[in-house]
């Protein structure tokens, strides 16, 4: 069963190479790889829940010299989310990019992005992490400037430079760690790292680099232009997955590798930055004139919620309360991934139909695409954090953690953020109530509307009602 770990990396990689070599069958190869990888991710989740954490040493070389892949509950859940989002986005991208030339450029990069995401989620040591982080950044930048618009290229260039800066800082931190502890394997480091100047500096460097990539306020400046100018399926993947990967790394570092080094002050700093992200991102989203810009700023805000969990996790002693909060964090991240991807795909449908995505002029298009409008509504419910979405359960845990640890500020921030989110979501939905008559034909869902609808429905309903296994899986640790 540990073979699934290798398959998860090999399948999209093979697909990427195959689409490069066989451009005429590229569409089919892409969909095929997508389905295969998604199925494998499902198998992995099942295997992890049945057998516990999985390890695989590539080539038989073990930790220290070799590349070790590992999967615990957290990585399995994120891998599944990645697979579902990529599967839906792949289906949509095939329809969105109409010209064969564009598709020839798209598919290899697309599948490489998926490979790097999977590899990052499965990496067991810091070296691997660095490599996959780079791969992720490069393929994301290349995808972001697909389509060739000047605004997109400018934003992609800024994204590239910021990403490089972050990677260099990360690498500097890695070198310090190696200097101090002589190993890069995360499991061994968790046991070895203790408080000291080496650990603090390394943590600061690595976190700074990752926060740049995760677009946490105030280092978020590159995200709105990049995500708003990229083609819709690419924006979906960037917002839902790529920034999440950087966040995942911060989570791993802070909760595992450097757990002994984290102080309440440091955790509160992250929390404060998260609070800033929630308020600033939501406020900007409320002012946005374009749908994609609104969605991009919404990502900035939603990532802030994830960082609000840090001071709570630090303050709660290990035990059931902490596990509840950690599970809440993960379900919030999963819901956001699905909902944000669904939102971007829906925006893509609208943009292609109407030729623009200006919010004020949406009325007629929203009426003609009831299924897509409904998808936006569902995604919106999940982004606000209303029941029955998974985000409601996540926010509940955030509020409960704040009350338990007496850190009321985060509770206030969460409430204000949710109300602001409601404001900007309903501002968009308000335009769906127009004077145009309801379609004379029954409500049909066009092929390109299904991915958005399914993603949004899973976020808004499925994860909320069937979310209990998340906590069960989170208990499986390495």
């Amino acid at each position: 069963m540990a073979d699934t770990l290798v398959w998860l990396v090999a399948l999209p990689l093979t697909g990427a190479v195959a689409t490069l070599l066989l451009p005429r069958q590229a569409n089919m190869i892409a969909i095929g790889s997508a389905v295969a990888t998604a199925v494998t991710a499902g198998v992995l989740v099942h295997a992890v829940s049945a057998q516990g954490a999985l390890h695989y040493a590539i080539g038989g070389w073990h930790a220290g010299l070799g590349i070790a892949l590992r999967a615990d509950g957290l990585s399995a859940l994120l891998l599944l989310m990645t697979a579902l989002v990529m599967l839906a986005a792949t289906t949509y991208a095939g329809a969105y990019f109409s010209s064969a030339g564009q598709r020839r450029q798209l598919w290899p990069l697309w599948l490489l992005l998926w490979t790097s995401l999977n590899a990052l989620l499965l990496a067991g040591d810091l070296f691997n992490l660095y490599v996959t982080l780079e791969l992720l950044g490069l393929s994301a930048v290349a995808l972001a400037c697909l389509g060739g618009k000047t605004a997109a290229i400018r934003a992609a260039l800024r994204y590239l430079l910021v990403g490089l800066l972050g990677s260099m800082m990360f690498l500097a931190g890695v070198s310090l760690i190696y200097a101090g502890y002589g190993t890069l394997d995360m499991a061994m480091l968790t046991a070895a790292v203790g408080p000291g100047p080496v650990a603090w500096t390394a943590l600061a460097l690595m976190t700074a680099g990752l926060l740049l990539k995760a677009a946490l306020f105030p280092l978020h400046f590159w995200l709105p232009p990049a995500h708003a100018s990229a083609p819709a399926p690419v924006s979906a993947v960037l917002s839902a997955l790529v920034v999440k990967a950087a966040f995942y790394l911060v989570l791993r570092l802070w909760l595992e590798v450097f757990a002994a080094v984290i102080t309440p002050a440091a955790a509160s700093l992250l929390g404060a930055l998260g609070a800033g992200a929630v308020l600033w991102g939501s406020w900007q989203a409320l002012q946005a004139e374009r749908l994609k810009l609104l969605a991009a700023y919404s990502t900035v805000a939603q990532l802030g919620y994830l960082f609000l969990f840090f001071p709570l996790l630090q303050a709660l002693p290990p035990g059931p309360a902490r596990d509840l909060a950690a599970g809440g964090l993960v379900i919030l991240a999963l819901t956001h991934g699905l909902a944000k991807a669904g939102l971007f795909l829906a925006i893509g449908v609208i943009q292609q139909r109407a030729g623009h995505d200006t919010i004020r002029e949406l009325g007629g298009t929203a009426q003609q695409l009831p299924a897509t409008t409904f998808a936006i509504a569902l995604a919106g419910v999940a982004l606000i954090g209303l029941p029955p979405s998974g985000a409601f359960l996540g926010k509940w845990q955030l509020l409960a953690g704040a009350v338990t640890t007496g850190q009321w500020l985060w509770l206030v921030i969460t409430v204000i953020g949710s109300l602001l989110a409601a404001a900007y979501i309903f501002r968009v939905l308000g335009h769906a109530f127009g004077h145009q008559p309801y379609p004379g034909r029954p409500v049909t869902v066009a092929r390109e509307e299904w991915p958005a609808l399914l993603l949004a429905a899973s976020a808004a309903v499925l994860l909320g009602l069937a979310g209990l296994p998340v906590w069960g899986l989170m208990e499986i640790r390495l």
Binding site: G327, G328, L386, P388, L399, A400, G430, V443, L465
Partner: protein
């Protein structure tokens, strides 16, 4: 999986599923839509009938689904939930008929009836909620389902009203959520148990429990239109009449009031609430709302706005009944939940009839309308008399029990003046309307006669619902002592609450 576990779920599903299907129907599928709606309503009625019988015989109906560790979605039927479910079901049936007539040939009917059914499903789910967590979930779902109904017409006024509605209800929802989370952290899941569970907590938690109570009541008070959180209600009048009828008689406002009843009786326990000194605060807020709402109603010329302010005032009788310690006061408050629902929906139906048939929106335009639309105006008269508290209409019964309960609880000194003043004010703003309608000569022409006088004074689907509900209001008062009447059921609830 036995029947007892499935019944609560089916009660919710009987309106949820038709609603979801209706969204996909073509605009012209009039018959299919009607069939789905009516089938769902009748099915729900049958299921609720069984629920009533079962709960009376102390059967346990409970469905449970775990959403997260320690957080269970629970649907549980007890005497109080059955009361509210029955009210919702009967009034939904009647309102559906009315809505079919009212919205004939207007656009977006599939969307309307879809959200209409979702709204009822949320209300029923809220009524059957077995713990505070479940209640909060359905409370928010209710907000989501009612927003499209308020915004239905799509005009700038409608959107503005809907925006105000959303601001108030989402804000209230947040307050309710904070209170629920805090309570959960303190005392675990707040399961609804007759007599409450919180009195068992140690003394040191009392200050926190007081804060939590205030948060919960504030959150619930937005929907229940307690002053000063009532601002959304008059603004929401831009909605079509069936929506106003449903919102004001059954769904939203009652959900808030129902929530207050639940928190006081089944979470805190009425004696414990009194011990914490919170019952007094609730009573004061209720009294202020009763008077303020009635005073504002006096100055409204727009008929629906006058009725809206009347709702603000009347729903607080339920809160007042809750604030009166003792079984008699409890009975008064709870039975008014039903009585006010029936009477208010009648008033809104008739207001809608006046608007649709003759273009009448203002009280000043209602001169002589009794001659042109006698059945409608008779229904209006019965309901208005009930609101004032004149026997034998149902409103009299509720006020009687409230007054009696206040006497028994030793609170007569301030409750009786409030009740009297409110009745006088009600008379002041209803009696002139009745006088105009019956005894004044009509103006030369009605503002906009849409339906000329034919065999029936207006469309059949618009005429029968108010007649039926007015008859129910009369019956609830006349036959209050009969078994299975709302009064008898409310007495049963009070018995089980106080452990008599």
């Amino acid at each position: 999986m036995n029947w007892n576990t499935w019944l609560p779920v089916l009660v919710v599903a009987s309106s949820l599923l038709p609603g979801l299907i209706i969204f996909f129907l073509r605009e012209g599928s009039h018959r299919l839509r009607t069939v789905l709606n009516m089938a769902g309503a009748v099915l729900k009625l049958a299921l609720v009938g069984q629920l009533i019988w079962g709960v009376f015989h102390e059967q346990v109906y409970e469905s449970r689904w775990t959403l997260a560790p320690g957080l269970d979605l629970v649907l549980h039927a007890d005497t109080l939930s059955v009361l509210f479910v029955a009210l919702s079901t009967v009034l939904w049936l009647v309102t559906t008929v009315y809505a079919i007539g009212y919205l004939e040939n207007s656009p977006h009917r599939s969307r309307f009836f879809g959200f209409f059914s979702l709204c009822v499903s949320a209300t029923v789910g809220l009524a059957l909620a077995g713990n505070l967590f479940t209640f909060v979930i359905f409370y928010e779902l209710l907000t989501l389902a009612t927003y499209p109904l308020v915004a239905h017409r799509g005009t700038p006024e409608a959107m503005r009203g809907a925006r105000i509605y959303l601001t108030y209800t989402l804000g209230g929802g947040m307050l309710l959520l904070i209170g629920t989370v805090w309570l959960h952290v303190l005392a675990g899941p707040a399961v609804f148990v007759e007599g409450g569970t919180l009195h068992r907590l140690p003394e040191q938690y009392h200050p926190q429990l007081k804060m939590i109570f205030l948060l919960l009541i504030a959150g619930l008070g937005v929907k229940a239109a307690l002053v000063p959180l009532h601002g959304w209600l008059p603004q929401a009048m831009v909605a079509p009449a069936p929506v106003s009828a449903l919102l004001h008689a059954v769904a939203v406002v009652k959900a808030g009031a129902f929530g207050i009843v639940r928190v006081v009786y089944d979470v805190y326990g009425v004696n414990f609430t009194d011990q914490l000194g919170l019952l007094g605060i609730l009573g004061v807020v209720a009294a202020v709302t009763i008077i303020y709402g009635s005073v504002r109603a006096l100055y409204q010329d727009n008929l629906k706005k006058r009725l809206a302010w009347s709702t603000v005032s009347q729903v607080s009788y339920i809160a007042l009944g809750t604030a009166i310690l003792g079984p008699v006061g409890t009975v008064g408050g709870i039975v008014h939940l039903v009585h006010q629902g029936i009477m208010k929906i009648t008033l809104f139906f008739t207001a809608g009839n006046y608007a649709e048939t003759l273009g009448i929106h203002k009280v000043s335009e209602m001169n002589g309308v009794g001659r042109r639309m006698p059945a409608t105006t008779l229904a209006f008269t019965v309901a208005a008399l009930g609101m004032i508290g004149i026997p034998p209409v149902a409103g009299f019964v509720s006020k009687w029990y409230l007054g009696l309960g206040a006497l028994e609880a030793g609170m007569a000194a301030w409750v009786m003046p409030v009740l009297l003043a409110s009745s006088v004010l009600n008379a002041a703003y209803f009696l002139p309307i009745l006088h105009r309608a019956w005894f004044r000569d009509p103006a030369p022409a009605w503002p906009a006669e849409h339906l000329p006088a034919a065999r029936l004074e207006t469309h059949a689907a618009l005429l029968w619902p108010p007649v039926v509900t007015a008859t129910l209001a009369l019956a609830a008062g006349l036959l209050a002592a009969a078994p299975y009447s709302p009064l008898e059921w409310a007495s049963l609830i009070a018995q089980r609450e106080y452990g008599l």
